[in-house]
């Protein structure tokens, strides 16, 4: 068993899990957070996408132990008691999801994009969503929704840093290449 200390949606968990446990299994089966979906289980479909230290990862390909000491955001942690996140609002308003199975992953991929790039082009949005397969929508309304959410977030002002400052985030990659302070 591996001893883990993981912050999930702002709350720290100290737990132990068998070493082969994936981050996705930890979230869904141990913590009961079923927003991240088990789709292909081999990293093709993106339905399991969560943010680890701000970066979008396929939770089915990451071991829970690799998330030790890191901060994980799932779709359950995106809305606040005050309301939905602007991305969730925009996805709803533009009917960007149909069956919705890809939704938690697509929305978190979009969040990782907007955190790093508050004013993305259409090509940048398509690129950010390329790892999230959707069989229903044709992606068109998703792309529109991400544009709308980016605009809403920029309009909200204070909490978003000005364009450019976050272009090269000093976030440690899950693989550890940049793993500065957190390893």
């Amino acid at each position: 068993m591996s001893a883990l200390r993981i912050t999930v949606n702002g709350r720290e968990h100290v737990l132990s899990a068998p070493p082969e446990t994936t981050l996705l299994a930890l979230l869904r089966e141990h913590l009961g957070l079923t927003g991240a979906k088990l789709g292909c289980d081999v990293g093709d479909c993106g339905a399991c996408t969560v943010l680890v230290d701000g970066q979008a990862v396929n939770a089915c390909l990451m071991l829970a132990a690799q998330a030790d000491g890191r901060s994980v955001l799932t779709i359950e942690g995106l809305a606040t008691p005050d309301g939905l996140h602007p991305l969730q609002e925009a996805f709803e308003r533009h009917a960007a999801l149909q069956c919705g199975f890809c939704g938690p992953g697509a929305i978190l991929s979009a969040k990782a994009l907007l955190d790093a790039n508050p004013a993305p082009t259409g090509a940048e949005i398509r690129d950010a969503l390329a790892g999230n397969l959707c069989r229903c929508t044709g992606y068109t309304k998703m792309i529109t929704a991400v544009h709308a959410a980016a605009q809403a977030l920029r309009g909200a002002g204070a909490e978003m840093p000005p364009l450019g400052l976050t272009a090269s985030p000093s976030i440690p990659l899950p693989g550890g290449e940049k793993g500065g302070g957190l390893s």
């Binding site: 093709d44 999801l97 149909q98 044709g138």
Partner: protein, 337 residues
Amino acid sequence: MRRRGRGIACMWYPIGFTVSANPSAATVKVNEDGTATLLTGTVETGQGSLTVLGQIAAEALGIATEDVHVVSADTDATPMDTGAIASRTTYVTGNAVKLAGERARAILFEAAAPMLGVKPEQLEARDRKIQVRGFPQRSVAIGEAARHALVGKGEPPIGTASFNPPTVAMDPETGQGKPFATYVYATQIAEVEVDDETGEVEVLRIVAAHDCGTPINPMLVEGQVEGGIAMGIGFALQEEILFDDDGRQINPNLTNYIMPTSLDMPEIEVDIVPSHDPTGPFGAKGVGEPTSVPTAAAIANAIYDAVGVRLTALPMTAERVLAAIKAKRAAQPQQLR
């Protein structure tokens, strides 16, 4: 060299099947607070059918969509529905919902008529009220009418109805009949670029004009068309189930069964053609499956326009397109460039 071409394809498509009975049923009950509850057996799979059916019930009762609580897909509580298949829900289930709403409304009219001192035929349901046609200031709130129907007249405002599309069996001698109650029509135009050295096809733009009757919810119609086009692009260029000699699928996962991603999607322009079908609920027909019917044909025609080769097998992968280009050049060496 990348060569550009345009292709067009048209289709018609029948709404609902008729090889056997194809009924839907619905119950609409109007509550004393002016809201309504709709019971339907149909299944929401993300296409937005419960939104559309709620809109139809609301329109029949003159209330807002958010006033309608939809209870669906629970055969303990809801009427049976033939299913979310055959692009039938808006037309077949929608007609059942409209009829059920109108039956509940007729009970409200009977209750409201003596309250307003007119005959039921003089009433209409609008803006959450039952009002005298032409004299909207003479009205009662719909909840008040519902309460009076229930406790005053002893007839709760509940309507139940079913709809089975009317058809005419085919005459075996003439081949004439009416196999489907209604049809939808569409034209899609594809603009592509084909690399004549690699055979790779990129779809740049698709314009899709669809006659789906009167769209109950245009945004959801667009969503169906865009999704259908994505499936059509996969069908045209990427998706193929491959088998080995023993019949086992050799590409059973999304690494090698390739489907469109956000990067494969072209610019899409959806044109909802103004139309009204008098047999549909408030003029509506349907839109689901037809959206992916003409896409691959339009792309095939665009490839022909771009590089002059006629592909007759799908998907039109780079290998197949390049093979066709090479075969054409071999057959016409004098035209090599």
